[in-house]
Amino acid sequence: MKPLLIQHGRVLDPANNGDEVRDLLIADGKIATGPAPGDADVLDAKGKHVVPGLIDLHVHLREPGRADKESITSGTLCAARGGFTSVVCMPNTSPPADNAGTIAYIKQRAAETGCVNVFPAGAITKELKGEELAPIGSLKRAGVVAITDDGNCVQNNDLMRRAVEYAKMFDLPVMDHCQDYHLAAEGMMNEGYWSVALGLRGWPAAAEDIIVARNILIAEMADWWVHCQHLSSARSVALVREAKKRGVKITAEACPHHFTLTEESCKTYDANFKMNPPLRTERDRAALLEGLADGTIDCIASDHAPHCNYEKEVEFDVAPFGIIGLETELALSLALVHKKVLTLRQLIEKFTVNPAKLLRLNKGTLSAGADADVTVIDLDREWTYDVTQSPSKSRNSPFHGWELKGKPVATIVAGKIVWQL
């Protein structure tokens, strides 16, 4: 592979406090230094930002088992288009990723058919049933970067405690989809005015908060890292903020749909607004923005959750939860920079150094010698999202037709341009 010289871009590298217009040289799949060789390919990034390759620590690639919804090929193409060089895929596949064999399969498929780095997460419990621990040590050996029962939530507090204590031995963070099953019951949307007006079962914020509180107590007890996935409620943000002040090993992520939309979107009964956790109130949305701004929320993730049209084009009660999000994630997040909720550096940290640190990945930096995963972004480019042109096998986005500002123009994985506008 020929060396690649990215010229004249504004290179923003939070891990090294770097922010200057300069050239960036890539050779042998690594970030290089020194003069560019004469045969190097050149990528002109004038007027663009050059940042470490973005990491999304929460996606569903549906392989193995539901390749009609998505595959590693199609899912990683979405990632590349969205500016992501690494994704962490959730274990709720079929069969579930609760054993070393399935992890090995995912890694092999990713190596053969994925165009970005795929890091699998393993299950906390066998079959994600919340009853018995999965073979966490074997999962670690097989290469998982975290464990989670995402989609499900371990309800047994003792089992969760043991999982966290056990995972600590392997230096594995535990990620959790925070949902108390009894409180959330058959909830279809946020409990409040709109659920009452629409006659849909409510999923109260307290069902999330109570598990976030539980996770904080367990993280404290086990003195180990628990990561709360897709926070949606104001109280959850406040709980994590308070716990971090005490030095508890707790981290959190938020999704663009939760900080962009509110429960009112459900009023047309369009199942593309049905997600888990549900869209919440304006107050919750504002709290997520505050949490992102003050560092309470460490990472932004898409929770990319593909579902077939025929599964989503049904009664709201019947539709599965979730939306695709990899392609719109960066632009919806850049909106926070354009609105001055976050600085660009803060935002890039949430997509690079923060998830890399959380998952112990040797990524998220442009240091010399680091893997040459790079994203080139045009902050001001205006575009309209057309889901019909998505490489995803699914079309379940509530952002179809949205006019967005800011777009990746090149995605580079290990020195190779995997997508370019």
Partner: protein, 313 residues
Amino acid sequence: MKKTKFIWKRKDLLGIQDLSADEIVHILDTAAAFKQVGERNIKKVPSLRGKTLINLFIEPSTRTRTSFELAAIRLSADIVNITATASSLVKGETLKDTALNLQALHADIIVIRHGAAGAPHFLSRIVKASIINAGDGAHEHPTQALLDAFTIREKKGTIAGLNVTILGDILYSRVARSNIWLLTKLGANVTLAGPSTLVPRVFEQLGCRVTHDMEEAIRDADVINLLRIQHERQRKTMFPSIGEYTAMFGLNKERFARTKPDALIMHPGPINRGVEIDSDVADCGRSVILEQVTNGLAVRMAVLYLCAGGQPV
């Protein structure tokens, strides 16, 4: 028929929430004309002759289905009933595919009853036919609210300014929601009453008063609308027992004696005698439960006629 210049423009009746007060009054006025038709010797008019109506009932119902069926027959429409057990829905066909099949059969009007809130809205985006909501989950039951209002207006002369108490399982009730929207739009004072688990405070945001005190709920009421406890929609944690419900919130003889002497007693049916309402109270002179049924027919004729763009009576 009262002559108004109002022009009806909707092809669907999905709920009361989207209707204006003028639209509601127009339906009630139209229903008054159709009620007279029902009292004639020949009860049939040719308004919907040649139109095809499909009663798509994906949830069990006898009275509402029968009422729509009879309404359609009296308007001279051709009518087919599809119920969940008889249809291919149980074989896994989606509602969208069912709807497209009905469209392929050139249905003009689809009356839908469905256990999922929003199912009629979903249908209205897919097919060209008029969609009439005959009850969707816990969301709305617009024709029930219209027939309730028709009955109140007929008995009391007006709706504005009346104190209407709706009593019972509000949380899971589509009848309650449609009544709340309608009555508040027409200027009634609505009080919701029942156990705190079934009548949460959030309903105040819909413009109602919420109380858990039976005496307070019935004392000043001009109309008391009793709702059935919806066993099928309820989780077991909502209240201790039917017996306790009856003791705390049932309209028994003692409580009935403390209502205003001209307070109307209403119930959308089916009634559970001895549970939410004392058997004798259900049959007393102030009970208009059976008149509601009669009026339901006139209201449904009016709704079908208006939405299908029928010929004048």
